[in-house]
């Protein structure tokens, strides 16, 4: 009896030790400090990602590196970064991030590797070829921490057929837009005149062009919160009024671009103000019911002119805790090279290189009216589409509240007073 149990105990102990060692060895996979040939890249769901994935096999052949991709939606990507970069993981080598959303916070928390010397070293790649404003957004305290890959401006998407049916021309001013939306909604009961993002935080960036075109901004010249200025009040009331009066019935106040785009591409709206980098979602017959009758126009002018934003929406950076920075840089060099940027531009992604914009071939595949709208927007564009702070999420929620209040029909005056206090509180707690 005792012999059986002794054997049982020894066998069990042996089994446990074996299991433990298997478990341990499974954890210590790559991660050698010599720099492995596998580069781990995290990317967002975007047409840029689809394009780069197609080109990666030829890069892998040419360089001998292997690219391991993690692809997530924007919100999940932000959460991932928050968790992983906070923990100082080496699991991420190259990260696709939003300079205006996360750039400042990540730079303050020292998540980025300093790319200045690497960026200046390669003359063919040419750091100076990048447009000034995008590079400024990916530079922190004089150090280059990211390379911009996608730029976007706000344009007006519209339905050519509905406009023609109503006998209207493309609106050039915000008042014309309002009138056209009203007319089309009256003539077509189950089609909304206008649709746009309605969720408190996501709508802030698309609303910003309305704000600037009315003559306002998030902060005034001295840096104090200015969302209760007359121009801002007019902008909030205008945007909310457009959606409330001429938008979809029972409009939901949690629409980000996928939902708003779905309403437009299902043919349920006549006008849609959105970022131009998403245009393929409307012109691709596989994704859009109205692909053949979508037109693009420059953002309509308000009292202060047509002032859409013109910003670098995404950039590539290297995780400072990565053990593979040399190879990570090789990937970035390739993905942001002139050739790749031109290929991406042809594939529908407006990039940030001056030389590629000068090449007419780049925008040859774009709808003609879109290319014209982009060219016009690049000139007078505003370089930020949201408050320039580190605590962007809190700031967006603060200044986004009047948008949803306006959509619901509440009093804008009271709402902006709450918003300006909340926004000023965020500004006050910003690290200098």
């Amino acid at each position: 009896m005792s012999m059986v149990s002794r054997r049982a105990v020894l066998a069990a102990a042996g089994g446990l030790v074996a299991a433990a060692t298997v478990g341990c060895s499974a954890n210590t996979g790559g991660g050698d400090s010599g720099g492995s040939t596998t580069v781990k890249v995290t990317m967002a769901n975007h047409v840029w990602t689809e394009n780069v994935k197609k080109a990666i096999p030829e890069f892998e052949k040419a360089s001998g590196l292997k690219i391991e991709i993690t692809q997530l939606a924007e919100d999940q990507l932000s959460d991932q970064y928050n968790v992983k970069l906070n923990a100082g993981t080496s699991e991420i080598d190259v990260m696709m991030y939003r300079p205006l959303q996360e750039g400042r916070l990540f730079a303050q928390n020292k998540y980025f590797a300093d790319l200045t010397s690497k960026a200046k070293a390669d003359a063919t790649w040419n750091l100076a070829d990048f447009q000034a404003a995008p590079i400024a957004a990916t530079t922190y305290q004089g150090k280059v921490v990211g390379v911009p890959i996608i730029t976007e401006r706000e344009v007006l998407y519209y339905r050519k057929d509905l406009l023609q049916k109503a006998g209207l021309s493309v609106p050039k001013t915000l008042d014309e837009l309002q009138a056209a939306a009203k007319a089309i909604k009256a003539a077509n009961p189950d089609v909304a005149g206008f649709v746009a993002r309605t969720s408190k935080s996501p709508a802030v960036t698309q609303f910003s062009s309305f704000l600037y075109s009315m003559g306002g901004d998030w902060v005034d010249a001295s840096g104090k919160a200015a969302v209760n200025s007359d121009a801002a009040k007019k902008a909030y009331a205008f945007y909310g009024g457009l959606i409330k009066n001429y938008g979809p019935a029972n409009v939901s106040t949690d629409m980000s671009w996928p939902e708003a785009m779905a309403i437009f591409t299902q043919g349920k709206a006549a006008f849609y103000t959105e970022a131009d980098s998403l245009y393929k979602n409307a012109t691709d017959p596989a994704k859009s019911k109205v692909a053949d009758t979508v037109g693009f126009a420059v953002f309509p002018a308000g009292p202060a002119g047509s002032k859409p934003y013109n910003i670098p929406s995404w950039a590539l950076g290297i995780n400072d805790a990565s053990k593979n920075q040399a190879n990570a840089w090789k990937f970035i060099l390739w993905a942001t090279s002139k050739e790749q940027t031109l290929a991406q531009q042809k594939g529908g992604i407006p990039g940030a290189r001056t030389s590629v914009w000068a090449d007419a071939d780049g925008t040859s595949s774009y709808p003609k009216d879109l290319a014209e709208a982009i060219a016009a927007s690049t000139k007078g564009g505003v370089d930020h589409d949201r408050p320039i702070v580190a605590q962007v999420v809190k700031a967006r929620e603060a200044v986004g509240q009047p948008i949803v209040d306006s959509i619901k029909g509440s009093d804008v005056t009271a709402s902006v007073e709450t918003a300006v206090k909340a926004f000023q509180a965020v500004l006050d707690t910003e690290k200098k």
Binding site: S5, R6, A8, A192, S199, P248, S252, D254, S256
Partner: protein, 307 residues
Amino acid sequence: MTSAVTTRAAQRDALSHWANKHRRWLFALPAMTFIVCLIAFPVVWTAWLSLTDASGSVRAESTFVGLKNYGDILTDTHRFWPAVGRTISFTVVVLFFEMLFGLGIALLLWRPFRGEKWVRIAILMPLVATPVAVGMMWRLIFDPSIGPVNRLLVAVGIPAQPWLAGEFTALPTTMFMDIWQWTPMVTLILLAGLTSLSDEPQEAARVDGASGWQTLRWITLPMLRPTLIVALLLRGIDALKTFDILIAAKGKGGGSFNEVETLNLYAYGLSFDYNEYALSSTVLILFFVIIVTCIFLLTRKREESAS
């Protein structure tokens, strides 16, 4: 020489005898250590974080502030208390209907009938789907402009409803989604309880001339009470912590007006959106206290009914 050998042999025997005697604990020890480390450490660390002002970056310096965070959170009538209210109302409503429908379906499935296997499979389908997929699916179905539900309603003449879009209809709609998905689980538990009941009391009642309803009310349900409480406990704890369908249906913060923001969503938002780790830990500790209280009350009721 022989005495040394026999001493070693005796020691080996003594060791294996001891190991044999305590094999229960020895085999369970690794798992127990693992669980204690995995549960005790995070709870203690969360409690510690709630006493500091940690925010921004996890590796940044933080200072001890005592119970200040608790004061801030407990006096926050803008986000915290509405979240508590939503959590409780969501849980109560959802539990009520899930128990009701779960019991009803379990009673129907109790007696064997033809085709019961297929009916069982069909009823268990919602349970198999992942909550996030369920949330996204219902979000599309309930879309006010392009969703099938409103199109159906309009086709029969009822005006289109806002469903998830409405400020006051969003939470009830998510309650519906949760009931749709989790009633089968309650059904399963109650069915298991029902089949384990002995037939004799019910036969005796039938012989005595009791109606179906009377048998149910006075015989079956009281015998089923321990199982009912188990189902209530299991489903209740999960319902308090519901997260995935709420986030999938309304996005971060539970919608622009926090229409479906329960405590879990609020703590998540504090941590991931605002990077306010100390406040988030405070909310989580308070939430933990609420859940433990509920479990304690329910378990005591169960012990009362068992005795």
